[in-house]
Amino acid sequence: MMASSYNAKDEDGHITVTGPGGGTLRSKKPENTAFKQQRLPAWQPILTAGTVLPAFFIIGLIFIPIGIGLYVTSNNIKEFEVDYTGVDMSSPCFNCSQNFSWNSTTPCTCTIPFFLEQPYESNVFMYYGLSNFYQNHRRYVKSRDDSQLNGDMTSLKEPSKECEPYAYHDNKPIAPCGAIANSMFNDTLELFYNDPNGTKVQIPLTNIGIAWWTDKHVKFKNPGVGEANQNLTTAFQGTTKPLNWRRPVYELDAAANNDGFINEDFIVWMRTAALPTFRKLYRIIKSPSNGMMPTMPRGNYTLEVVYITTMSKNLRQNLFNQLNPDYPVRSFEGRKRMILSTISWMGGKNPFLGIAYITVGSVCFFLGVVLLIIHHKCGNRNNSADISN
């Protein structure tokens, strides 16, 4: 006799048929495994004052020394900052920042003297800092074409839509396109050391190595690099410079390996800052090779800011064709600074992290004490050992 059983499927009332071997009754009994019976071995911490106490103390004890260490490290970093925006009448740069006194043929230069109280050892990093400059504006951040910057010929000729309205000018593609490139910082900063004997020595500034290695070598490439006639001018033929630029992109730097898209100033600028007040690495002052002398000894220095003409062809009417003397920050209440800084393993000078560690460590320690009190006052009754009594 063929025995087959006909079962209503439990879930959706669906009828299924178990085959003709249904004579052997297979038990539906669930398996007795730890997983299926939800008996997996487990660690079951119970958060009470007593159990949590050690954690607080340990965190406190670890954090406070770290914080102190960080704080000390940060304090050892030397930093100097000069604001050269020229907002005040007294400021040496006031004249250059005003439109009227500016003559388009001669560059406007302002000279700011400053005094370094301490000698700066090893490499000194020279930054320019801008504030109130919203490089992180959503539309600004997007306004670039990475393919173009990577040397892609088609993107060079046909910039991405993201670059609009800075993609074409006079029916020519802009290279590099986009608002970021267009607004590139173009003040020229020069440093002079005023020798105690009165001579003014220009400090050599290196503009190589200021950008990320990967940016310079992978992300940014000049168009037509591999081709026979390695001429940037021909490579960029058919394109036009960004509106605000004075020179085309292939004339940014005369140095062979720092021109075009791989110009490091350009690359640094293209890395949009996270916050409206930011600094960007401008130059590096290499420490003297003998290492005996500090890179920048204590003394008087002069910062010379050379304003290169920028032709602001903003499409806005009232600003159209107006000539801007300097890098324009006044319209948005921005500030321009020059910063000199040494760096340590943890970067630039920033005491915050050290303070934070110390604070959090102290708070933990304090809370640990509070918990200890709580534990002693109330915790004993709750101690599980006492339940059994």
Partner: protein
């Protein structure tokens, strides 16, 4: 008669034929022709071509329709539409925030996950469809002129199929031929309705007389029947032969798809409905979808999230507008113009930005939440399925979750509505006692035997008693109480009486049929009654041999024999032999159909028949001579049965019977012999009580040996086998509440009606005794006595049935038959006519006796109820049983406590009901006002413990919310009163009364009332309700409740089909609710909260950034991280925690049911918790944002090099947050967290190395790699999560110490070594300090004596005078003594029957000896109320059964009643439904005096 209407029918049929040609679907009927007449089954002429074929397709989609259809379905969910909208918004250039394609990713991911799930389910359906479609069956082939194997899917309407034994029916088939000599076919319908008994189906009448095999080629009929419908119990139609003969078709002719052919070698039928039109398929509903409470709550918070989102977007938009505005005309260089070079006004920018922000912040609405919840729920369901403790070995069934999405509701139940029969009880009926002709046979020996079963059972089980229940064996005296106690101890089913192996075998056997357990089968007969039976039958034997008329038999003896004959034959029990249970024992003497026509009747009832019988020479309808026995046994179909029967005969001949005459030893009564004999016949009954009665009769040697459609054979002592010609069977229906058989008595040759039914119905149908003669007086006495015993039985919790008979004269019968036949052949309204016909027959009955059947409690029911109650669940029992039975079962299962007061509401009219409710309310308020106030006060003074053993007295959420306290009161209400109480005007009052009672018992309630009660409680009280039941009558209740639980018991599968969860036993409810419910709830609640937190925290990071990017909608978090953060990086740990986290172990949860309150009060997820989580999320995001902000302030960091650490920090913080919230750390938790972190870094590293020019605008080439070289990054990763989570961690620690929740205490208990914990839990109840108490007594132990509880209770009821204990005890006693009857309550407006029941300790104490007093069902006593305008008879009596020793409270009833004094009567009645005795009524004046006295004491 059928012939009369032939012609019109014929024309109609032909008309139908014509119509069919036009459009078949217009018809109300379906016409089926045999396919054999047509060339091809699909041919043009084939009239059946319009009907669905047998190929089933339950899949929702086809290859082509899948995508559109599935998408369409998915877009019904609002969230999906929302996310798609946002993704599409991204394609608008002005507002887009992300790469449009990328923004689509999450939506597509979610949609495709769901789609794949649907696809997989559909594929499963497809596979099973295919499997079913390709099953084989035999179909008659026109070409080959034989039956050929075909696939099921090839079967078409009109095909002839041959079915063999144990085959499954491929379609709905009209039975045309059967190998069975009776033209029967047995089918098992377990897959359809779950009923495990065999059902008989008959061959269509016109094919009945075929001698040879059915030849399809000769078939020439046309079948006209109903359109396909889903009513399994209805099929109507007729078959039209070419000869013009027309035969009605019934459901008895239809074999349904999915059923299995049993007991029948071969059957042939024609397919009527195929494929999706079969009744089985039409009944096939998919799983149900409910929305759980938690999900509703969650949706509210999702809504809040939307609000938060909009507020944030608005804020950003306004901010952006202002930011733009401050620059005025001077547009800064970084404010890029629109692509067209045009300038945007600040307002326009703000509007665009608003949309952009919605895109950026979309993560706030947790897109993956819905998917995650579904995944977690599926896992939870899986684990519930896998729980070994929810697996029933006997039935090899485990819990089924039929609704997949309300698991967490199980942890939030507040009210349980339970059916009684089959849910609380086994639905295994055991015959306990009976009364015949007014004499009670108490069956003491039987009771002792049952007790012994228990003892054996409990000895067999090693002491696995539940911790809490301590043996109280000494406290009880009667064996029945002992049984109760013993049963409560044994955790195993009593059915496992024999060895395990035997039980196993039995369970395998009983898998398909409802065979009774040995306990139900062997019944020790009452010696007295047995003597009488023997005496009686020997006398009858004697008289038969001496040809004396049977009427000379003394009436008490004839009643006895009639009683047993009625027990034996008035049922639908099928006899089968044990070795081949599928084959019935055939005891055929005569092949004859039931009386179908008048002519037939006249012909068959000619006197000549009596002597000669019919043409069948070897047998006659009167089997009286023993010699013929051999002849008949030779006709047995099964050889084994044959031999056993022969043996049986011989045994009897050798005088094995006479020893029954001797005094019967209590249980030594030939057990072996009985067992031997009993092993030979099996009874398969549709309802277990029928089988119990048949077995009972068999114990008195009056055994059913064979049943055929027209004949029942009964074996009686001395008389041998008697075969009763079965003229009619009027089946049981719930309206009539009775069934009858019409037989011709072989001895007296009278046409006798035996009726068996509910006592309330039968008693009304008893012929009013003619008090004139002695016979009438005797009848009256019998009726009165029987009624008394019935009350007694009911008080014992037995199910009572009355047995009556009626002798019809030939004329009466003929008259009735005429109408009946008309009714039977009617097509329209046949059911109604048959019903009326039955009513006509069942009148003027003569009462024979009554039986008491015990429906045994299921294992562990009292414990389960106790523990569910401790868990703060209100348990209501809604039953169709009578009040007394229900009350007693309620006592037995500890639903009602003997110590608690019981309010009984029985009213006859709306007004009375209103009054009654009013009174009850006043009473409750007055009585408990002070005590509850005091209780609350106490609670606030620190004595209150949330872990009180009676959570009813603890302020649960409901009692906080409302002025109602739950008191130690029980409410009993009957169906009629319930109907009044459920009226709109009274329902509030009813609820007010009911909710203050600890337990509510609704008796005599209809299925509709059950569902109305559930609906009322659910809607008005706004509580979570669970309904549990096993029968079809519970379906509506199950569907109405928030969670419906079906018991997959014996009453069929309807309840299971309607339910959300199906349990094998009631006691599994405990683990399901207390453990799985709790877990599911707390897991999901925590997971949902965590989800909200996680998303808010992540999104807030971007929000803070808006302040530093000119509200431009910029994000420092790379869009990839932003979009995949939820989906990938943080998804797994929370799923693992949501699935596996256990806050408290299963053991502790079961031992401390109080922990369940956690879920009831939604303590894991309260509305404020959402906001707390939000605040925490904002705090944490502030930390996560500003620590990196300050750390990188004024540095040369670029946007995404700064954003990536923030993402990492957020991930760490979120994971550690989860870690704080995780209570159980298994290796899976560790693994999932490790995996998450690893996944993030792997993805980040790969992503950041993959493409130097892609992923505009972030273009994060080499960012992560650089960061990993930066020590600052690591420093940030350490400090930020610590700082962010410090408050939460600290709060958790403080909370765990200062004000631990009960759950936390439970967890601490978990930590203890096993023995210690067991000691604590078993010794006493655990108290947990309330947060309000100044000195929290965290886990303090009380003295483990039960007295402690009592004392506590007394303390909590300060109004009750503890000192009065003994006094009022005696008072109670004295009250019980019958006092003179009084009639003076007439004319009093309010009548309160204060009926102290005898139940002082346990309801069973009064079982064995019949008490001098009857039990006291509150009678419906008419009373007049002159001072009220109510109708006299309407205002019926209300009665308050105060069955408790809480005497002082009883007294205070009187004190606090509004109308006390003269208008009031207090009486003690022993009343019963026939209002015969008001013997024990206390004189009202006396009573009031007493009360006044008592009240004096009370007030003093």
């Amino acid at each position: 008669m059928a012939r009369d209407s032939e012609d019109p029918e014929m024309t109609k049929a032909s008309k139908v034929k014509r119509q069919r040609k036009k459009k078949t679907k217009d018809n109300k009927t379906r016409t089926v022709h045999a396919n054999i007449l047509y060339d091809y089954s699909k041919g043009e002429e084939n009239p059946n071509r319009h009907y669905a074929n047998n190929k089933i397709k339950t899949t929702k989609y086809t290859v082509l329709s899948f995508l559109p259809k599935n998408l369409f379905e998915q877009f019904h969910r609002f969230a999906n539409v929302y996310f798609v909208f946002i993704a599409l918004l991204n394609f608008v250039p002005v507002v887009n925030a992300f790469q449009p394609e990328l923004a689509l990713a999450p939506v597509v991911f979610i949609l495709s996950v769901t789609a794949i799930k649907d696809l997989w389910e559909d594929y499963r359906r497809h596979r099973s469809d295919k499997e079913i479609n390709h099953m084989d069956c035999l179909v008659y082939s026109r070409v080959e002129r034989r039956y050929v194997e075909k696939y099921w899917k090839e079967v078409r309407v009109g095909d002839f199929i041959r079915l063999r034994c144990n085959e499954i029916l491929p379609a709905d088939v009209l039975l045309l031929s059967s190998s069975d000599p009776d033209r029967l076919c047995h089918i098992e319908t377990a897959t359809l309705d779950g009923e495990t008994n065999l059902k008989q189906r008959q061959v269509v009448r016109s094919f009945f007389d075929l001698d040879c095999d059915f030849d399809p080629l000769k078939y020439n009929g046309v079948i006209e029947c109903e359109k396909p419908n889903n009513d399994l119990n209805r099929f109507r139609g007729y078959i039209l032969h070419r000869s013009g003969r027309r035969d009605a078709l019934y459901k008895e002719n239809l074999l349904l798809r999915g059923c299995t052919i049993r007991n029948t070698e071969e059957a042939v039928g024609i397919v009527i409905y195929a494929g999706h039109e079969t009744k089985a398929m039409l009944n096939n509903n998919g799983p149900r979808y409910k929305r759980s409470k938690l999900e509703r709550q969650m949706n509210v918070d999702v809504f809040w999230c939307v609000i938060i989102l909009l507020v944030m977007c608005l804020f950003a938009a306004v901010g952006h507008g202002l930011w733009m505005f401050q620059y005025g005309d001077k547009r800064p260089v970084f404010d890029v113009l629109s692509p067209e070079g045009t300038d945007l006004s600040p307002i326009m920018s703000a509007i665009y930005l608003f949309l952009t922000m919605i895109i950026v912040f979309q993560v706030l609405i947790p897109i993956s939440l819905f998917v995650s919840i579904e995944i977690v729920k599926i896992c939870q369901v899986y684990f519930i399925h896998q729980d070994m403790e929810l697996y029933d070995e006997e039935t090899d069934s485990h819990l089924q979750c039929r609704a997949l999405n309300i698991t967490e509701d199980l942890g939030q139940m507040q009210y349980i509505f339970s059916d009684k029969t089959g849910t609380l009880t086994e639905n295994k009926m055991v015959f306990r006692r009976c009364t015949v002709a007014g004499v009670e046979y108490s069956h003491d020996a039987n009771a002792r035997r049952l007790a012994m079963y228990q003892e054996m059972d409990s000895e067999e089980e090693e002491c696995t008693s539940h911790g809490g229940t301590l043996p109280r064996r000494d406290s009880v005296t009667s064996h029945q109480s002992a049984r109760v106690v013993l049963r409560s101890q044994s955790t195993k089913s009593h059915r496992r009486t024999g060895s395990r192996a035997e039980a196993k075998r039995a369970s395998i056997l009983s898998k398909h049929t409802a065979f009774s357990s040995p306990m139900e089968k062997d019944i020790t007969p009452d010696p007295q009654l047995l003597d009488k039976v023997n005496e009686c039958s020997s006398q009858m034997d004697f008289m038969r041999f001496h040809s004396q008329p049977m009427s000379q038999l003394p009436s008490d003896l004839s009643d006895i024999i009639d009683f047993f004959i009625a027990l034996t034959i008035c049922n639908t029990v099928v006899v089968s032999s044990p070795n081949q249970p599928r084959h019935k024992v055939r005891m055929r003497f005569e092949l004859k159909s039931p009386v179908k026509t008048i002519e037939d009747f006249i012909k068959r009832f000619t006197p000549s028949r009596l002597t000669s019988g019919s043409n069948n020479s070897s047998s006659s309808s009167l089997i009286t001579n023993r010699s013929s026995n051999k002849g008949c046994s030779s006709m047995l179909s099964s050889p084994s049965a044959e031999s056993t029967l022969t043996k049986l005969d011989e045994e009897r001949q050798h005088g094995s019977l006479p020893h029954a005459f001797g005094p019967v030893p209590p249980y030594g009564y030939d057990r072996n012999a009985w067992n031997l004999e009993e092993g030979e016949l099996r009874y398969e009954a549709e309802s277990p009580d029928e089988a119990a009665l048949v077995y009972a009769a068999k114990a008195y040697k009056c055994s059913l040996v064979g049943r055929l459609p027209d004949q029942v054979t009964v074996e009686l002592p001395h008389l041998g086998k008697l075969s009763f010609e079965l003229l009619h069977t009027l089946g049981f229906d719930s309206t009539r509440k009775r069934m009858s058989v019409v037989v011709r008595h072989p001895l007296t040759d009278q046409i006798t009606v035996y009726t068996k039914g509910a006592d309330s119905v039968i008693m009304d149908l008893i012929k009013p005794p003619d008090t004139g003669n002695s016979k009438g007086k005797r009848q009256k006495k019998i009726v009165n006595r029987t009624q008394n015993y019935l009350n007694l039985y009911a008080a014992d919790g037995l199910r009572t049935l009355c047995i009556a008979k009626k002798i019809l004269s030939k004329e009466q019968y003929a008259c009735w038959l005429q109408h009946h036949l008309e009714a039977e052949t009617a097509i329209q309204g046949r059911e109604g006519l048959l019903f009326e016909s039955a009513l006509r027959l069942e009148t003027n009955l003569q009462l024979l006796g009554a039986t008491g059947i015990e429906d045994r409690l299921q294992d562990g029911v009292p414990e389960t109820i106790a523990s569910l109650r401790k868990a703060g669940l209100q348990i209501w029992v809604l039953t169709g049983d009578k009040q007394e039975t229900a009350v007693n079962i309620a006592y037995a299962c500890k639903l009602l406590d003997p110590e608690e007061e019981i309010l009984t509401l029985n009213a006859d009219s709306q007004e009375a009901c209103a009054l009654l409710l009013e009174e009850s309310l006043h009473y409750i308020q007055a009585k408990f006002l002070c005590s509850s106030a005091d209780q609350t006060a106490k609670a606030f003074h620190g004595h209150f413990a949330p872990f009180d053993i009676y959570p009813s007295s603890s302020p649960s959420s409901s009692s906080h919310a409302a002025p109602f306290m739950v008191h130690r009161l029980g409410l009993v209400i009957d169906g009629r009163t319930l109907a009044y109480a459920l009226d709109k005007s009274l329902e509030d009052k009813f609820l007010a009364v009911a909710r203050s009672c600890r337990s509510v018992l609704c008796c005599r309630s209809t299925p509709l009332q059950k569902s109305m009660v559930v609906k009322l409680v659910r809607n008005k009280l706004k509580v979570m309700t669970l309904a549990i039941g096993d029968g079809a009558n519970d379906v509506s209740m199950i569907q109405v409740a928030d969670v419906g639980v079906g018991i997959s018991g014996q009453e069929g599968m309807q309840a299971v089909m309607a339910s959300d969860f199906a349990l094998p036993r009631f006691r599994y409810l405990q683990k399901l609710l207390l453990v799985h419910g709790h877990w599911c709830y707390s897991r999901l609640a925590n997971m949902i909260l965590y989800f909200f937190y996680k998303n808010a925290m992540f999104v807030a990071l971007i929000f803070w950034y808006q302040f530093y990017c000119g509200f431009s909608g910029s994000a420092m978090i790379d869009q990839w991280y932003l979009i995949f953060f939820n989906l990938m990086f943080s998804a797994f740990p929370q799923l693992i925690t949501g699935t596996l986290d256990k806050d408290v172990s299963a053991e502790t949860l079961q031992q401390l049911p109080q922990l369940y309150v956690n879920g009831q009060n939604s303590e894991e997820y309260k509305p404020y918790m959402f906001w707390m989580n939000m605040i925490d999320a904002f705090y944490q995001s502030l930390i996560c944002f500003f620590i990196p902000y300050f750390a990188y302030a004024d540095s040369d960091v670029d946007l995404f090099t700064w954003g990536t650490p923030i993402t990492t920090l957020a991930l760490f913080t979120i994971l550690v947050h989860l870690g704080i919230e995780t209570k159980t750390w298994t290796w899976m938790n560790w693994l999932s967290i490790a995996f998450s972190i690893a996944l993030f870094f792997t993805v980040a590293l790969c992503y950041n190395a993959s493409c130097p020019t892609c992923y505009s605008p972030s273009n994060p080439y080499w960012t992560m790699q650089r960061l990993l070289q930066d020590p600052l990054f690591y420093l940030l990763c350490v400090i930020t999560p610590v700082a962010a989570l410090l408050p939460r961690y600290f709060y958790r620690a403080c909370q765990g110490t200062l004000f631990p929740s009960p759950v936390q205490v439970g967890r601490q208990l978990d930590k203890l070594p096993a023995e210690t914990r067991r000691n604590i839990l078993s010794l006493s109840r655990v108290k947990v300090g309330s947060p309000l108490s100044p000195k929290p007594p965290f886990l303090s132990l009380n003295k483990p004596s039960p007295k402690g509880c009592n004392k506590k209770d007394q303390r909590s009821f300060p109004s009750s005078k503890t000192s009065q204990g003994p006094v009022s005890q005696t008072d109670n006693q004295s009250r019980r003594s019958p006092l003179g009857p009084t009639d003076s309550e007439k004319g009093l407006s309010d009548i309160y029957t204060l009926v102290p029941s005898e139940i002082d300790t346990l309801p069973y104490t009064k079982d064995a000896p019949p008490l001098s007093e009857e039990p006291q069902p509150p009678s419906t006593k008419d009373s007049e109320c002159p001072d009220k305008t109510l109708e006299t008879s309407n205002l019926s009596l209300s009665s308050w059964i105060t069955s408790t020793p809480l005497h002082t409270q009883t007294d205070s009833v009187q004190l606090n009643l509004p109308h006390n004094g003269d208008s009031q009567c207090v009486k003690y009645t022993r009343n019963s439904e026939e209002r015969l005795q008001s013997d024990h009524t206390v004189h009202p004046a006396q009573r009031t005096e007493q009360v006044a006295e008592q009240s004096l004491h009370t007030t003093l």
